[in-house]
């Protein structure tokens, strides 16, 4: 299945765009998506941390992703 992933800050530079489209396996969860991104973009490993948001909420590792979700990569935040 194809999912769209929003990326911000340094993650946008690593993934290439604010909106990115990827082919992933059905039933992929947040933990698997994190591994997928690290494998595809080894520079993600250089980050202090990164989280995945699903529909605008920080998502636990076991949340299953489908193409209707709004998925985002959240590198360490630095507002203020």
């Amino acid at each position: 299945m194809t999912i769209n992933i929003l990326a911000f800050g340094i993650a946008k530079e690593i993934l290439g765009n604010n909106e990115n489209s990827f082919e992933v396996q059905e039933g992929i969860n947040v933990k698997m998506l994190r591994s997928f991104l690290i494998e595809r973009f080894p520079k993600m490993k250089s980050l202090a941390s990164f989280l995945i948001a699903v529909d605008g909420e920080y998502a636990a590792e076991d949340v299953v992703i489908n193409p209707e979700h709004e998925v985002a990569v959240i590198p360490p935040v630095s507002g203020g």
Binding site: L6, F8, G9, I10, E13, S46, L47, A48, A53, G56, E57, A72, I74, P75, P76, V77, S78, G79, G80
Partner: protein, 138 residues
């Protein structure tokens, strides 16, 4: 009142303060975050902020609700700027009011500390020779 905004135009502390006029409140605490000319490393030319708007407002809303649950705060205002900011410009304003000062001080500090940890907003420091996303690397 809960007033949460992410703006790409200049923030005004006097406008923010004018909204904090609850009659039950004897104290207003306001935090204003500004762009510094220097990090520990080098001279800053500008900062570039970006936000994941929808989620950032949701996370700000959580902070506002937590503040109101923990302290007798009547009004909370969180305004954050995005885009390109020069040295001396205001990046963030947080204002809270409460009947007495202790709650106002504590609530304001909690709000800015939590914003820095949870709200999906990012800043890139641009130096004379290079640039860096703040906190990105360990």
């Amino acid at each position: 009142m809960i007033d949460l905004k992410i703006l790409d135009t200049a923030l005004s502390a006097s406008e923010a303060l004018a909204k904090m006029n609850h009659p039950a409140c004897g104290g207003i605490d306001i935090f204003i975050g500004m762009v510094r000319a220097q990090t520990e490393k080098q001279e800053v030319v500008r900062l570039e902020y970006e936000a994941y708007y929808g989620m950032a407002i949701k996370e700000m809303e959580k902070i506002a609700q937590e503040v109101k649950a923990k302290w007798p705060v009547e009004d909370i205002l969180i305004h954050h700027r995005v885009g390109i900011l020069s040295v001396g410009e205001i990046a963030v304003i947080i204002a809270v009011n409460a009947p007495h000062r202790k709650a106002a001080f504590e609530a304001c500090q909690y709000a800015i500390d939590t914003l820095k940890q949870t709200v999906p907003i990012w800043k890139k420091e641009v130096f004379v020779n290079g640039e860096e996303w703040v906190s990105a690397h360990a």
